[in-house]
């Protein structure tokens, strides 16, 4: 008997090791029952251990808002401050697994900090579950959440029509909501949308198929999450390898460590190092567990090259016939994340792949009203000079100029090379996050002539010190500050 058992657990572990991972975001307005829904998924997937459950039962009696039911929402409210206020204030991550898959949930709240929190929670998600209350249907928040999901390039959306018990499990009501939603979502270009009628509180169509919705022939929420195909979410076409770290353990080994941002690289492939343009071939793909014949996203590997070419952090290895955009000007959708409003005169640090540079927001083409999707600009009279700068949670299409050339792709083609963050140089806060739309033609660049210049002979620096000056300049460059040196 003991022996049998041992074989079973081995088989279980062997199978479990091979499961894949689905990361999803949940979004809903206050009282949509989102925490209840997540609590239910965790509860039913047996992840909740008995002692956590005991604490929950204790807390439900004291501060619960669910009457006689267990208040699943309390499982998710982690921080003391928010437990006191009865609201979730940030993104919380939850983990559960089923026989087929492991799941990471980014749980984001529905109140007024929505945009910042949803964007934070959703950036790594493959899928979004958007909740609506069946009584209220598609409301402003639903449209806002869906817009943000489309902005993040999330390809799969589940519209969870919750509280079906409160509309008598009406098929007509469900169909109304679906029609309403599909009409709206059509404009946003989300490729995969699924609508499920459920009751998070009573468990209908969450895990088990409900007998109260005989007219619904689709999957339950958990069933859908377990089976949705996510393999093709990575870009496997355009090889981009933003060098993260250079490993030089000895004179014979020079390895370039990075995460494969996109595409597939094979041993023997010809590669170009950008921005230098020097070419070489992949000699080996090194990992602790042995060499590989090929590597793909999101693997973290180390490449060695046939030739000794100079490659450092921030450079990118790509295939010669498939180049990214190389430039200092691009348009992007920018989401303002900082309490401090945008100051148009400020120069920010921009971090994109493994590169850091300085960046300037040249112009705001228009802001997007996240509730109506309407464009607001000075040209159409909806913005004035005073209301133009971005405030917390606002979204705009902007033009950005960087001090150094960046290596990028449009976000809709390549999330990994099309995303960036802006960092305030004084507070070091992450002020904004952006998704590149496309490059724009280099215009007259003031920044070039603005570069601080060190004329070494004129400064009386002798050639034996040039090396040291160049090293210091290289370190500044790494930090995003470019200095021109005249020898």
């Amino acid at each position: 008997m003991e022996n049998n058992n041992k074989i079973d657990i081995k088989a279980f572990l062997d199978k479990d090791e091979q499961k894949d991972l689905l990361r999803f975001l949940t979004a809903g307005s206050v009282d949509d029952g989102k925490s209840t829904l997540i609590g239910h998924l965790l509860y039913d997937s047996k992840k909740i251990y008995e002692d956590q459950l005991d604490a929950l039962k204790r807390d439900s009696k004291r501060i619960g808002n669910a009457g006689d039911h267990i208040d699943y929402a309390l499982l998710l409210d982690g921080l003391k401050a928010e437990r006191e206020q009865g609201i979730t204030i940030d993104v919380a991550y939850r983990y559960f697994s089923t026989n087929n898959r492991k799941f990471i949930i980014a749980d984001t709240p529905g109140h007024e900090q929505y945009t910042r929190n949803m964007i934070t929670g959703g950036s790594t998600a493959n899928l979004a579950v958007i909740l609506v209350d069946a009584r209220l249907g598609v409301i402003t928040q639903t449209r806002r959440h869906t817009f943000l999901v489309s902005l993040l390039g999330i390809k799969h959306v589940v519209l969870a029509v919750n509280k079906m018990d409160l509309v008598g499990f009406s098929e007509t009501r469900f169909n109304e909501i679906v029609a309403d939603y599909m009409q709206f979502v059509g404009q946003l270009g989300i490729p995969d949308v699924t609508c499920i009628p459920l009751s998070a509180l009573e468990g209908d169509n969450v895990v088990e198929k409900s007998e109260r919705t005989p007219w619904y022939h689709g999957k339950t929420l958990l069933d859908y999450l377990e089976t949705v195909h996510i393999d093709n979410d990575h870009n496997l076409t355009d090889f981009r390898y933003p060098v993260q770290y250079v490993s030089r353990p000895n004179l014979d080994f020079r390895g370039f460590c990075a995460k494969v941002a996109s595409g597939v690289v094979h041993k023997g492939d010809e590669v170009v190092a950008l921005p230098s343009g020097k070419r070489s071939r992949v000699k080996s793909i090194v990992t602790y567990d042995g060499e590989l014949d090929y590597a793909f996203p999101p693997q973290s590997v180390t490449l060695t090259l046939e030739d000794e070419i100079d490659v450092s952090r921030g450079d990118m290895l790509v295939h010669p016939d498939n180049m990214p955009c190389i430039g200092r000007n691009f348009e992007a959708m920018l989401v303002w994340m900082d309490e401090e409003a945008m100051d148009a005169n400020k120069s920010f640090f921009i971090k994109q792949t493994t590169n850091t540079s300085r960046a300037h927001i040249d112009s705001i083409k228009y802001k997007v009203d996240v509730n109506t999707m309407e464009h607001l600009s000075i040209d159409n009279g909806k913005l004035t000079k005073e209301t133009l700068p971005l405030q917390l949670n606002q979204i705009a299409r902007v033009v950005i100029t960087t001090a150094r050339e960046l290596l990028f792709d449009p976000f809709n083609k390549n999330k990994a090379t099309g995303s960036f963050i802006l960092i305030d140089p004084i507070t070091n806060n992450t002020s904004a996050v952006g998704m590149i739309i496309d490059r724009i033609d280099d215009r007259d660049m003031l920044i070039d002539t603005d570069l601080p210049t060190l004329d070494l002979p004129r400064l009386g620096i002798t050639p034996d010190h040039y090396d040291a000056v160049e090293r210091a300049a290289k370190e500044l460059y790494r930090q995003g500050i470019e200095v021109k040196i005249i020898k």
Partner: protein
Amino acid sequence: MEENYKLSHLKELEAESIHIIREVAAEFENPVMLYSIGKDSSVMVRLAEKAFYPGKVPFPLMHIDSKWKFKEMIQFRDEYAKKYGWNLIVESNMEAFRAGVGPFTHGSKVHTDLMKTQALLHALDKYKFDAAFGGARRDEEKSRAKERIFSFRDRFHQWDPKNQRPELWDIYNTRIHKGESIRVFPLSNWTELDIWQYIRLENIPIVPLYFAKMRPVVEIDGNLIMPDDDRLPEKYRDKIQMKMVRFRTLGCWPLTGAVESNADTIEKIVEEMMTTTKSERTTRVIDFDQEASMEQKKREGYF
């Protein structure tokens, strides 16, 4: 042969952790990896070795020794560091130790604050580390579920849960002012089961205390405590009994309860875990000090 571009969840988590570890090595001047000698630390240390292979890990390992750790832990620590060529730093609050601070005499709260939190803060200041890796997982405890992977700390090493930097995609904001620091949690997205599976898959050495064995234990306030040296108070000494036990977490011996178990292999441990009704932190005495106590400790700079 057809190529396969799919990663298992463990390989995906591994890749994510390696990326995080390399990012810290590339962007900070003086990082350190905090090492608790527990199973999570063991996984984190292996991931660091993987991140820089075939090179050496470019930062040291630091253990804050509370002077009440199990002897087997200390032995394991020293042997592991030696075998894998780690630069190991061990720091303790010697002042408090000489003053006789310990859990039996001063209570778990004072002991933890002085021997762990203060010792850690002092060591971080002493070496001027600007980034410190910790092995915490988000599934361990509610306040951790909300913490960023790169968790900003002010000059006093404090965490402000209401003022966290937004963290998007895999682009980490590593900028800090002098004196400030970042705690980095490369295992944020791992669960307890992931850790055990990875240890099994990769044959990662762990402290033998995790495996069941006949050990002397004494029941103190509902916890099975294994007296590891002669500092067990007199009143408990005649109550020691031999039991088949193992430890689900490791820490200071008077603060870490053993569980009765026959699990002497990783497979049996996982099996026990899958069918168990207690989550792992219940064997850690410090969590019961006050409601939301871990959050309080984090705010003060502990982990």
